[in-house]
């Protein structure tokens, strides 16, 4: 189809020049809700002062989002209870964290199993491009084991004063009166005999839903549904010589055979690799895509043994409603996963922290009751800070994951040093930095050139039969 690609080209060109002036225009545009905000009358300064007790908040879910939220809440003087259903959970996950997360959350370096400094992008016709030449000696993508990271963040929350409870959240009862408590029902497992656990209730002033893609809190509060991708992954233990190749290298395979709207990956873990793929639109064919991914990586994982198979949903966009009265969502439960790369750990932890900061501030360190406007402040802050990142990745996905032709162009573009530098800058530090405008124009021209060539070849491909 020629016209769509032409329209895409124009859109792409706009987006490339847009990237250059992204900060200015989107900052102005994004101030929209903020301007609206100042007109509302409700102010937390006039909210009820709690007498004799601090604000009590329940954080449901003990992953990165829950752990970060609980720690910040506890540090801010709020009485926090963190409810996690499985304290040794190995959540199926790519496990990649950007550099800024290590800094912002003061993660100890021994948490990171591997430092990926090279990535290989492989196109549908196996054109392989190495990216990572522009990385400095101290720059890397950290690969972590989720069970290790989650446990560490929870232990920090506990050290700050949060109560960590092993339990399964069931439901909550909405408050009877305006400033009344939420009553949470959960199955308590800690030190209780038998598998069922003991049904308990507690009363809290606010609930933070950090329980992941299948969030129960979201269901309880009527947050609505989102589209999600299925990520399917196999952990493969490969021979030592082959593992050497993956010591600092991750691979990304694109192609219709591997996934119609996402990518297949080989990520190194502590002593094995994770081979996986994902899709939104063709979930029923996920096994086929996985087989295709294994085929593409065949020579490099030959002789490997599958030690674990896992799958998990990944949200594609935020839920329609992320806050309702004094209940709010953070992390995957809210749907903060980027398009194109599918990154979620950093945004989960950051949103947990930002939500907790908003609660601490709105409650004046736990002395006053909060209300919905305080939680909306967190949403506003998060949306404003990260909207450019999400939008740019969305545009990239729409343009480059569209078809095999676009994917070929994508891999070709990745060979360009400027692209590599911009990509890593925006991934590692989460900032969309406008570069030199001349370079941007050259990049736009090259991108359009790649897309045009690739789609021209694809049109020819349709004409022939082998």
């Amino acid at each position: 189809m020629r016209s769509p690609s032409k329209a895409q080209k124009i859109k792409n060109k706009k987006s490339k020049t847009k990237m250059a002036s992204l900060t200015s225009t989107t900052a102005a545009a994004v101030a929209g809700p903020a301007r609206r905000r100042s007109l509302t009358v409700r102010a937390s300064a006039t909210s009820v002062k709690l007498s004799g007790r601090p604000l009590k908040v329940a954080v449901v879910g003990g992953g990165p989002a829950g752990g970060a939220a609980a720690e910040t809440l506890a540090k801010g003087g709020v009485e926090t209870i963190l409810i996690e259903r499985k304290l040794d959970n190995c959540k199926p996950c790519g496990g990649a964290i950007p550099l800024c997360m290590v800094d912002e959350f003061s993660l100890p370096l021994d948490l990171i199993d591997r430092r990926v400094t090279k990535m290989k992008m492989i196109s549908p016709s196996n054109v392989a491009v190495d990216i990572g030449r522009t990385l400095g000696p101290d720059e890397y993508i950290g690969m972590v084991r989720r069970e290790v990271l989650d446990d560490y963040l929870r232990s920090r929350a506990k050290a700050a004063g949060a109560e960590v409870v092993n339990g399964l959240f069931l439901k909550f009862d909405a408050p009877q009166e305006r400033n009344g408590p939420y009553r949470i029902h959960y199955n308590h497992y800690d030190g209780v005999k038998g598998e069922r656990g003991e049904r308990r209730t507690i009363e809290v002033d606010a609930v933070v839903g950090a329980d992941g893609a299948n969030s129960r809190v979201a269901k309880e509060m009527g947050a609505g549904d989102y589209e999600y991708a299925i990520a399917f992954q196999e952990r493969v233990r490969i021979p030592e010589e082959k593992m050497e190749y993956y010591r600092e290298r991750a691979e990304m395979y694109v192609g219709d055979d591997v996934s119609p709207d996402f990518y297949g990956w080989v990520f190194p873990k502590c002593d094995h690799v994770a081979v996986g793929t994902g899709t939104v639109t063709h979930k029923a064919d996920i096994k086929k895509f996985q087989a295709a991914t294994r085929l593409r990586a065949r020579d490099k994982i030959e002789g490997g043994k599958i030690i674990r198979v896992e799958a998990h949903p990944i949200p594609e966009h935020p839920r329609p409603k992320r806050v309702s009265d004094r209940v709010t969502l953070v992390g995957d439960a809210a749907g903060y996963v980027t398009k194109c790369s599918g990154e979620g750990i950093y945004f989960a932890a950051k949103s947990g922290r930002m939500c907790a900061e908003a609660i601490v501030e709105g409650s004046a360190n736990g002395t006053r009751l909060i209300d919905e406007s305080d939680l909306r402040k967190y949403l506003e802050k998060f949306d404003k800070l990260y909207w450019p990142t999400y939008k740019v990745l969305d545009v990239l996905q729409k343009v480059f994951y569209r078809s095999n032709a676009a994917r070929e162009a994508f891999v070709e573009m990745c060979a360009d040093e400027y692209v590599q530098k911009m990509t890593f800058d925006s991934y590692l530090y989460k900032r969309v930095v406008p570069g030199n405008p001349l370079d941007d124009i050259r990049l736009a021209v090259n991108t359009i050139g790649s897309l045009v060539r690739a789609s021209a070849l694809t049109r020819e491909m349709k004409k022939i039969t082998l």
Binding site: G224, Y226, K288, L295, P318, K339, M461
Partner: protein, 254 residues
């Protein structure tokens, strides 16, 4: 689009029969340890018709479950059963062409009259991509693919792809322009020069040019509508949580 029955099997297009053949060189042969597949070689200057017969080889169930059991493996034991047993070479035919050397096209073999025949390079790459689309291959570190389409000079792309299209579109624009100019002249009496001075006519001209550029097939109208909707869809999803606030208007996030 490649589609495979799970798990990956060496599915090949069945009963290919090449009736037409271009003047390009193209040499492709497939090795197979089992007798079920062969492809005849075509010769140089070949207007030979090549036929190939392929049969499918059905793989049985998912490789995960297969761990260790595939010993009737004269055929299979395909490397998908990653369980440490000796992996036999998979029965997927791989792309072979004598001009594909070291992961890229050897331009010296495309010489025609002392200069590189870029058209032939384009054709060869098209064939390679088509082959790989139908039969994905494992990417290899020993023979990495390093071909970049930008080695083909820009004027070749223009000559081959852009010019025919441009001719078509210019032809359409000219026909529309002539007819509309005549039609407007007959209605209003304004000649071509007078029409160009009129704002409304200039707008019509702009619309006609844009229309010819963007609407080339019937489906394009739908595609453009979908594209416009798509470009703002993500924004709407993000703003959904602000909609239930009782504030008027829509937030301009983008």
């Amino acid at each position: 689009m490649a589609s495979f029955s799970p798990p990956l099997s060496s599915t090949l297009p069945t009963s290919l029969n090449r009736a037409h053949f271009s003047r390009r060189n193209w040499l492709c042969f497939i090795q197979k340890r089992n007798q079920s597949l062969f492809l005849a070689k075509s010769t140089e200057n070949g207007a030979g018709s090549v036929s190939s017969i392929a049969t499918e080889e059905k793989q049985e169930s998912s490789p995960v479950a297969v761990a260790g059991k595939k010993e009737e493996g004269a055929k299979k034991a395909e490397s998908l059963s990653l369980n440490g047993t000796a992996s036999v070479k998979a029965e997927v035919p791989s792309f072979k062409d004598e001009r594909w050397v070291g992961g890229t096209w050897d331009l010296k073999q495309f010489q025609k009259g002392g200069k590189t025949d870029w058209d032939a390079v384009i054709d060869a790459e098209v064939r390679r991509r088509k082959w790989l689309q139908d039969n994905p291959e494992a990417s290899s570190n020993n023979e990495p693919v390093v071909f970049d389409t930008s080695i083909i000079p820009w004027w070749q792309w223009i000559k081959r792809f852009h010019l025919p299209e441009a001719e078509l579109l210019n032809g359409r624009a000219a026909m529309i322009g002539f007819f509309m100019a005549y039609f407007v002249d007959s209605l209003t009496g304004a000649g071509l020069v007078d029409q160009m001075g009129n704002f409304f006519c200039k707008t019509l001209l702009f619309v006609a040019v844009v229309g010819v550029l963007f609407v080339r097939k019937n489906e394009d109208i739908e595609n453009i509508k979908k594209l416009i909707e798509e470009s703002t869809f993500y924004d709407k999803q993000w703003q959904a949580t602000w909609q239930d606030e009782n504030s008027p208007g829509n937030s301009g996030k983008n």
